[in-house]
Amino acid sequence: MGGAFHKEKMGQADERMEHLMGLLLRAGVLLAATVVIAGGAMYLADHRGVHVEYRHFAGHPISVRHPAELAGPTSIAVLEVGMLLLVAVPIARVVFALIAFAAQRDWLYAAVSALILSVLVWGMLRGG
């Protein structure tokens, strides 16, 4: 009985956590999408009549590396911030899971979350 009760409680805590995660993800995507829409509109207004082609790869390294560069936001910088916000959304989800599992004293899954987070950081550092 004790085990079943514990499982029931765990299920409820998980449901609550997943619900909050879902909201966090949706809010994050909405925010990122709004920034991308704003940046895109600015860019289109600035570059009317410009011709584009992506046939040849030149690479577009992200140029926003310091907050000071945002002092006078160019449309490209705003778009880049939108992209970075979007990438940050799932990372924030893992941070949230780490906190939620630790609060449940579920150390196994807190460790799993920490491991995922370290892989994500490793990926970012490898790229940068």
């Binding site: 765990m10 299920g11 998980d14 449901e15 997943e18 619900h19 995660m21 879902g22 909201l23 993800l25 949706r26 994050g28 995507v29 990122a32 999408a33 991308v36 829409i37 940046g39 895109g40 860019y43 289109l44 009317r48 009549g49 410009v50 011709h51 584009v52 082609e53 992506y54 046939r55 040849h56 790869f57 690479g59 577009h60 390294p61 992200i62 490209i76 778009l79 880049e80 992209m83 970075l84 979007l86 990438v87 959304v89 799932p90 989800r93 893992v94 196994l108 899954y109 799993v112 979350s113 995922i116 892989v119 994500l120 490793w122 990926g123 970012m124 550092l125 490898r126 790229g127 940068g128």
Partner: protein, 278 residues
């Protein structure tokens, strides 16, 4: 092509891809890369970058809806995300050393596989899997049976599932896709997790997997924001509209047609990759 026309057409195409992908349950991301490379003559790497950020957007945007249904299992998802993220970093590192013609050919195979999987898909019920590690790792769960009750399930063949998830991660990082089809294969066919739990948990994992390769894609310049913006906004909007409509309409015919379209695109990607046109 003039910027405004190009952006509008890309947005419309991405919207259609997102709508069809979510109506048929096959995912819109999978047709984005052929749309951009074959349709708009975009370099494979830019297409992969735009696809990767779109995958993050759609997976995260749809999560709230899936969570409400009560099928996804956060523990299974996160346990397997360790494998997919490590795989994704490896795959993204590999992408830089792989010629676009090889990327195009691998991508063609993935498209053919996705199309084939969609035809042989049947929903099986949990068949009383007993696995002590499923309990120890707290991955057993239950899901609503649609009649007010719940069905309990456990997870089997965890090592094989984990290894397949690593492969799904490599493909995701290598090609900038969500590789939902391989994730569902690992959970549904190998780990014998109920189909609905598999598909929703897979969607839950896709964003984190894609985020693992995003750092490498951004640093290599694969993500051109001017191209990626209309793609991700189009797919996101299309998939949200599709998800709303799905409640009302079942679409087996559309699904079959879309599966054939995906298969045809797979062949075209392979041919174009082989000829070195991409």
């Amino acid at each position: 092509m003039p910027l405004v026309e190009f952006t509008s057409l890309v947005f419309a195409g991405a919207f259609a891809a997102g709508l069809l992908g979510s109506l048929t349950g096959l995912g819109g991301g999978v047709v984005l890369i052929p749309l951009l490379t074959l349709g708009f003559h975009v370099d494979m790497r830019y297409a992969m970058g735009a696809s990767l950020v779109s995958v993050i957007a759609t997976s995260s945007g749809a999560a709230a809806a899936y969570v409400r249904e009560g099928y996804s299992n956060v523990r299974i998802g996160m346990f397997l995300e360790v494998a997919t993220t490590i795989g994704a970093v490896a795959g993204a590192s590999l992408a830089a050393h792989t010629g676009t013609r090889w990327l195009a050919m691998v991508f063609g195979v993935v498209l053919l596989y996705s199309a084939w999987l969609s035809r042989s898909q049947q929903e099986h019920v949990a068949e009383g899997v007993a696995n002590q590690w499923s309990e120890k790792l707290r991955m057993s769960g239950e899901y609503p049976d649609g009649r007010g009750g719940t069905i309990a399930y456990a997870v089997d063949r965890i090592t094989a599932g984990w290894a397949t998830m690593f492969g799904a991660g490599v493909l995701s990082g290598l090609l900038g896709i969500g590789s939902g089809a391989v994730k569902v294969l690992a959970m549904d066919k190998i780990m014998r997790i109920p189909f609905k739990v598999s598909t929703t948990t897979s969607n839950f994992m896709i964003g984190v997997t894609a985020a693992a390769s995003a750092g490498i894609y951004l640093a290599r310049g694969y993500v051109d924001p001017v191209l990626a913006a209309p793609v991700l906004l189009g797919v996101l909007l299309g998939s949200l509209v599709g998800a709303k409509a799905l409640v009302r309409a079942r679409v087996p015919l559309l699904r079959t047609i879309f599966a054939w379209v995906i298969a045809a695109l797979g062949v075209e990607m392979m041919v174009n990759g082989w000829m070195g046109r991409l």
